[in-house]
Symmetry: C2
């Protein structure tokens, strides 16, 4: 057996290969990485140097086995293809890597039993779960999650910490803005049935409509899927509803409505005004730009990661509420 050795040993670098080369114990090498202040500075430096020379990379699976912590965060999204999720994924990824964790992504593809099974499998491999998958049935969720620390995004389930976005103030403001612009008959295009966010937003708009001093008439349409197509198809009914302004569940849906209204020969904001929610990429690429309620993606992600580490540490944090802000842009005009 003629092992090729060029310069350093060409064997796989481990704490042992480093220890051998330096003639010290593997324990010390291990400590140099896991608890650097426990080892002599000189020694540590030599370890780091030969680690670099050998191209050593810590094997996280092995560490995970020894410590019981994998350094992995499972991130479950409803549908990565929905423009709401990419900015959230990015924020979570950033926050995770800041705390030296990596993220395993699971695209739940709209929930269903398969998603529940995959979630169950995932939950066993990670330190914690961040779930942004509003459609997963609560029971499946609880069952799949088991005892894995979990935090929910934009959804509240009894007993599971969450970070949610309270848009009621912003939606009020949005409604008031429409009133100022002279709108009186306003259509609320409700989001998906069973979506926590959808019912929150619906309630917020309803209560605004009831409490406003103006003589507002709220027409409701839905529930509908939160997709462009759904919005597009709703446009006909919207056009004939007599409403001059639309408050849509989210931007994605709102963009579809704008497209569909165009098909009906109606232009925004001249013929109709519309307001979305979330401020996703589509909101900015729409011409004119969509008036909307912004979602603080960056913070949603950061807080989710922070909450998760609190749960992992044994805490029982409550629900964190962030809030969106109304941004009047190009799709709201005088009646």
């Amino acid at each position: 057996m003629n092992r090729r050795r060029t310069g350093g040993a060409r064997v796989k670098a481990t704490i042992y290969s480093i220890a051998r080369e330096l003639d010290i114990s593997a324990s010390t090498v291990s400590r140099a990485f896991s608890r650097p202040d426990m080892v002599n500075t000189k020694v540590r430096e030599r370890i780091l140097a030969t680690a670099a020379a050998q191209g050593y990379e810590l094997n996280r699976a092995a560490r995970g086995l020894a410590t019981g912590r994998t350094g992995l965060i499972g991130l479950v999204v409803l549908d990565i293809t929905n423009p709401f999720f990419p900015p959230l994924v990015r924020a979570v990824e950033r926050a995770a890597s800041a705390s030296d964790a990596s993220v395993m992504l699971l695209d739940a593809e709209s929930g269903g039993q398969k998603a529940a099974d995959q979630l169950k499998r995932l939950s066993a491999q990670v330190d914690g779960l961040i779930v942004a998958s509003p459609r997963l049935a609560t029971k499946d969720l609880q069952a799949a999650v088991g005892s894995t620390p979990t935090v929910l995004v934009n959804r509240a389930v009894r007993g599971i910490p969450s970070v949610t976005c309270d848009n009621s103030a912003a939606l009020r403001e949005a409604g008031d803005h429409l009133v100022e612009l002279g709108h009186r008959r306003i259509l609320l295009l409700r989001g998906p049935a069973g979506s926590w966010a959808a019912s929150q937003r619906t309630n917020a708009v309803r209560s605004w409509a009831q409490q406003t001093s103006a003589d507002v008439e709220l027409v409701e349409l839905g529930p509908v899927e939160a997709t462009y197509e759904a919005g597009w198809h709703a446009a006909e009914a919207i056009a004939s509803s007599g409403a001059t302004a639309i408050m849509a569940f989210d931007d994605y849906l709102a963009c579809g409505v704008v497209g569909g209204l165009d098909e009906q020969g109606l232009s925004v904001p001249n013929d109709r005004s519309i307001i979305g929610c979330d401020d996703v990429l589509l909101a900015r690429t729409l011409t004119p730009q969509l008036s909307t309620v912004t979602a603080p993606f960056e913070e949603l992600g950061t807080r989710a990661v922070t909450l998760l580490s609190e749960v992992s540490a044994g805490g029982a944090p409550g629900n964190q509420k962030l809030s969106g802000e109304y941004a009047a842009r190009g799709t709201t005009g005088r009646v």
Copy 2:
């Protein structure tokens, strides 16, 4: 110490806890999961039953340590926020989970040294890497990847297998379509400097322009970033270029141009025609829908995963070329 025991043992389920309960060896339990046909059917059934009863989930990190394969695929994307990536991520995720692997996501956030470091770290934790990050410097890429099996998406680097999309035929077709519609002065809005896909597409359009029998004059603008804003800002120059049609590097950029042209008082397709590339979500949500060259996301993802497993198995597959198709939609009209 009063351990609570309700029904089954409340200890963590492992192959040992199952073995103990069934009074068999852990080896057999292990085989029941890793190589089921090696164990007696009856025995296997009992194992599976008590595993379910105990809520056992295989610890993949432990398996990984033992086998040297983690069951993890690292997926590196340039920028998850760019609409090109979500469909790709989804396709990869699907294909991975079909072969019982999970994906670890790394958002390279436009490359840079940080991304290279993160990649290096990631590469040590996964069985293989799928890299869709055109900006990562080739050297960094090669260094970070080391000996980890890797496949590139939409980029070709000597010595690394890849799956790319050859759009030249579709771009020719797109060009011909513009000519048919009466366009003669056509502006090529080039993508980012250093992007492999951008140079491919640029070359394809140039060679089409040279070879076409029509009297086409190709005006070039760029390189520019592939973002909405970049497209938007390019619109002024485009408007004054005298070109009646634009072929843009990708859809994202094209949508920005449409927005910017609108700002210039120019409408699409009446005043200008435009064609994008990739067929991302934005292409469909634009009003009118964007004429574009479609990218076969699903296949891109599937093939990448397949290629990766070939590399892991010791093969040295070459580059796989898929191809896009021209889809004439609403943004191309008569001059």
